[in-house]
Symmetry: C2
Subunit: 358 residues, 2 copies
């Protein structure tokens, strides 16, 4: 009989993930993650896809996002609590797991707060490479919270965007984004309103946090040839784009059944035309067709992107020699003898306290 | 500005959980967990209940089981891979999380393989206290795998069962159970078939692992007054009881919408009568009504039991001073500055490698 059947579950803490990203560099991480996401999107039909499971409360939502192919399973735990910043907490916090489909053994537990920001930005850039004008240089960033730097970096490194127009209702958030972009050597300019910020931009990224049906972008702000990267309209009752903005051009999404419920598209009738991004990446449907066309990526975040991001972070940890593990699963010499995993000292103590079960 | 908004996520490893159970004793853990489960079942309508989300593959299933009330959220990750023992792995492996509904912050990550075995047995005993004859002394244990010792201990300590009749198609599993029960000072006898094992028993517990539509118990084996604790028929295509056994007495379950899909009840028509256990615990529906009545608890395992079990293990860790933590969530001085959590050394390395995004 074997004496150990240890399941090694790799662990990537929040600090360790940040160190890995620092060591690899933002540009490499964003590019690598975009590669992984693209590779998985091209295998779209290999995946068992489920709409995410949400537990809603007054102030937010907690969601589980599972997905699997024939060999690998992943899920993400993620919350969305727009008022969290009042308590000094992040609006979005996340972690996730990779597991082996053949045995069900969890092989990785990882932070996904930082990783989600990277994967969301990488997905936005991946979509924009197919949908924005190739000569895009100027992007408006409406919403200057936790995700905004990652959007800027992804569009700079993966698309060549060099100029950022910023607006947020919270001036302190814009201050923070300005400082961070300057630190990275990127050019940014602040504006007093969304309308002023988007004027003359090639790409408009909306990444606001309020859980309301907002109209951050209205039709009068949209210019011919603009690509709209709508990131913050991502759950029921949380939208950013005026419905008429969606009618101004072709609309693309990640996973249609989920986006119709969670995306800005939730405002539109069930037969409103939308194209899943993977079709464009796979060359089945054209992306942008004319310089004057308006394109909209109605992004909500899909489990497959987390699957890819977890794969990327796992491989990065291996590449950089990070080998931390946690013991989630009992190590049983005989898998039918779970009882035997409890130290024997339990036996004599079993009857110590008088039992009180009603 | 505060310099830290650390989210302390308590961590309970497989080893640590086993040590806690050993220190507290099986009897106290089973009794305590039964108390917690009972208390939560009595608040049935306080919970947002969801059927579990399953990703099925050829050899097994991976499930997520979320549930929440106004203040606390939990989910369990659990697999079911009946062939795992061939690779030296457990059929069922699990872990879970408690989180704060107000903020979405995860407050506990815990092993749930051992804990699930305890909570399943505690739930079985809780049901049997209301459904089995109060003078029950003899229980058949059909299926002598990883869960069987816990069932025996729960029925011994919480119901006063003193004699166990064992049968398993795997003689080695029965050997193991015999040894473990002897170590605990419990009286057990092995039989050559299910039919012989159940003869003369007050309670019959079926806890087999095969993912098939089996008929472990047939009507000819059922005696007046028996309580059947059906534990192993717990997912689509996996049953243990002949349909006519379900017609011989009153049937009780945990969460009806889930049990109709996953329980032995999956064999029955949609209008087959079943009572949710919480109604009995709350005194809304009588439990056993006559010494000759046959009762069936068609158990599949419900997210609320894991919610209770996680609460119990968290409180036990606090009581016994176990304070291990993991860092799942970034510690941000400014929650809108996630970017700032990445060490600054990233900046100069950002452009080192030439980018290759297709």
């Amino acid at each position: 009989m074997k004496t150990s059947n240890r399941i090694p579950t790799r662990f990537l803490s929040a600090e360790r993930a940040a160190e890995l990203v620092a060591a690899k560099g933002f540009a490499n991480c964003l590019a690598g993650m975009a590669d992984y996401i693209r590779a998985d999107f091209l295998r779209w039909n290999d995946f068992e896809k489920t709409a995410r499971v949400a537990n809603h409360s007054d102030d937010g939502v907690i969601e589980l996002m599972p997905i699997s192919d024939d060999s690998l399973y992943s899920f993400k735990y993620v919350n969305g609590h727009p008022k969290n910043h009042r308590f000094g907490l992040s609006t979005v916090m996340a972690f996730g797991v990779l597991a082996d489909v053949d045995t069900g053994a969890p092989t990785l537990v990882s932070e996904l707060t930082l990783t989600t920001a990277l994967r969301t930005a990488a997905t936005s850039a991946l979509a924009a490479r197919a949908l924005a004008r190739p000569d895009s240089k100027r992007m408006a960033l409406i919403g200057n919270g936790a995700q905004s730097e990652f959007q800027a970096l992804a569009f700079h490194h993966l698309l060549g965007v060099t100029e950022f127009h910023l607006f947020d209702v919270d001036a302190a958030a814009t201050n923070k984004l300005m400082r961070n972009l300057e630190r990275m050597g990127l050019s940014a300019k602040r504006f007093a309103s969304t309308k002023e910020a988007v004027k003359g931009c090639d790409i408009v990224t909306t990444v606001t946090a309020d859980k309301t049906n907002a109209t951050i972008l209205t039709p009068d702000m949209i210019e011919p040839g603009m690509h709209i990267n709508g990131v913050g309209g991502d759950c029921p009752g949380k939208t950013e784009l005026h419905a008429d903005v969606l009618r101004m051009g072709r609309v693309f999404c990640e996973f249609e059944p989920q986006s119709r419920i969670e995306g800005d598209m939730q405002q539109m009738p069930a037969d409103f035309e939308v194209t899943e991004l993977w079709n464009v990446l796979a060359g089945k449907v054209p992306g942008r067709q004319a310089a004057s066309e308006v394109t909209v990526f109605d992004s909500v975040g899909f489990a497959l992107e987390d699957f890819s991001a977890l794969r990327f972070m796992r491989d990065l940890a291996i590449e950089l020699g990070v080998e931390e593990e946690i013991s989630l699963i009992p190590d049983l010499a005989d898998p039918k003898n779970l009882f035997g995993s409890v130290p024997a000292s339990a036996a004599p103590r079993a009857a110590v306290r008088e039992l009180q079960v009603a």
